[in-house]
């Protein structure tokens, strides 16, 4: 987990079961499965009986977690990619009532996108229980062309949409679920420092 550097930078305190919740929805991506498996001791039969786990392995990193998650014994559904998982999460939330708590674990980009789905249902982001697991790669929006690039690990990087050289800021938009990328060589085109792999 990375600490907060500026106010908009989200913090992810870690998964913990809300003991009074009537229903628990876990949306997990890749290594985020580990965040739930690590608190398996708190998953009483009562909690599991009220739980729905949505999981996307997302590439090779998540292989091997399907079985462990399924063995927990809660309702389990695996998505092939992130988009269908978000679609399913949307459907689950539209059927849910107050008393349902949402848990998100995985990369920041995933948490940010799932948080957007939650916000559309009127869920306060502060009430969502989150844990950052896996890559520190960022979802970055180019402030110039508004294109979003997924999985950014270095700064500066080249915008996948408009080709500008972008410096990745810690400034985070909850609405977009993305960090801000700003042109770094506007005044002296071509004067771009070598990229640093900051977000592996």
């Amino acid at each position: 987990m990375q600490g907060a550097t500026i106010r908009s930078r989200p913090v992810y305190p870690g998964l913990a079961i809300a003991p009074l919740a009537r229903r628990h929805i876990f949306a997990l991506e890749g290594e985020g499965a580990g965040a739930l498996l690590d608190i398996a001791g708190d998953l009483t039969p009562e909690v599991l009986g009220r739980s729905q786990i949505l999981y996307v392995a997302r590439g090779s990193l998540g292989v091997g977690h399907h079985g462990a998650l399924q063995t927990l014994g809660a309702a389990f559904w695996a998505a092939p990619t992130v988009q269908p998982l978000l679609g399913r999460l949307d459907v689950e939330l539209s059927r849910s009532h107050m008393g349902t708590r949402l848990y998100l674990a995985g990369t920041e980009g995933f948490i940010g996108q799932a948080m957007q789905v939650a916000a559309a249902h009127g869920i306060d982001p502060a009430s969502v229980i989150t844990e950052h697991r896996g890559s520190r790669a960022r979802r970055v929006q180019c402030v110039h062309c508004k294109g979003v690039t997924e999985g950014v690990t270095a700064s500066p990087f080249t915008c996948g949409h408009c080709g500008l050289n972008l410096y990745v800021r810690d400034h985070y938009s909850r609405r977009l679920g993305a960090f801000q990328g700003v042109n770094i060589d506007a005044e002296e085109p071509g004067a771009v420092p070598p990229p640093e792999e900051l977000y592996l």
């Binding site: 009074l20 849910s96 008393g99 009127g122 306060d124 502060a126 009430s127």
Partner: protein, 318 residues
Amino acid sequence: MMGDLQMRVTALHDEAAGIRRVRLEPVEGGLLPAFSGGAHVVVAMPDGDVTRRNPYSLCCDPEDRTGYEIAVARAAASRGGSAYIHERLAVGDVLTVGAPTNLFQPDWRAKKHILVAGGIGITPFVAMMAQFARAGLAFELHYAVRSRAAAAFAGVLQDRYGPRVKIYAADEGARLPLGALVQNQPLGTHLYTCGPERLMDAVLETARQAGWPEQALHSEHFMAPPPGDPFTVTLGRSGRDVAVAPDQSLLEALEAAGINPRYLCRGGVCGECATKVVELRGTILHGDHYLTPEERAESRTIMICMSRFSGDRLVLDL
């Protein structure tokens, strides 16, 4: 304070048994500062040789900027504010009114708003509902009263909002169905409560037990400053002693002594009047809802609008 308004009483109306509604319009004419549902104003009232400044929720339509309205219940053990409004205030009188402040904002991201009022706790919701209705937002009001005769605004709210307003009169044996209220509410519902402490505690605790997150729960805990034993406070900067009478709050005593500490709500919720304790030999009787239990135990800070003191010496950073 800056932003104070001189306002003339233009109407007095007994809204229900023991509840008087006061309409105030600016002496200078013109439009008043805008406010939002849940906002309150602090009204200054003479009471013998002291000035009482009490917070009252605005209970009129926020779109109407020609006047403010408050509704005041006659308190059994009035410290002066409610007795003054019920017995002495007349149409034509001029009062000093602070600019509106809102410490009970609706969460505008909510999908639905559930309002639970007890008695005079109805007032902030009257303004909120006007805004919700205009914006086409889903809301419902659950209003617990001793009797229909004591239910301020009940008729007008039912006329305006129909079945979205539910009234539970204790003398008819009706009780707030709290358990049912928090069941099967859509995600994104927010719950607001205002009224007697016991009612608010019951509402909030029922929702918590049903798994509602704190972020969806809102309450307004305005209270009158509690009376108590007299005590003396010492001002650290001047060395002056100020005596606080039994029916006076520390803040009121300081104001009477010509000191004007910062304040907003005067009811122990906003934190504006937090004052540093320089020296303490005795016990601070914390009466606010602002400090955490740890901060209360440390007693390095006192909320002077609500808290009192018992002991030998209290020196404040004033």
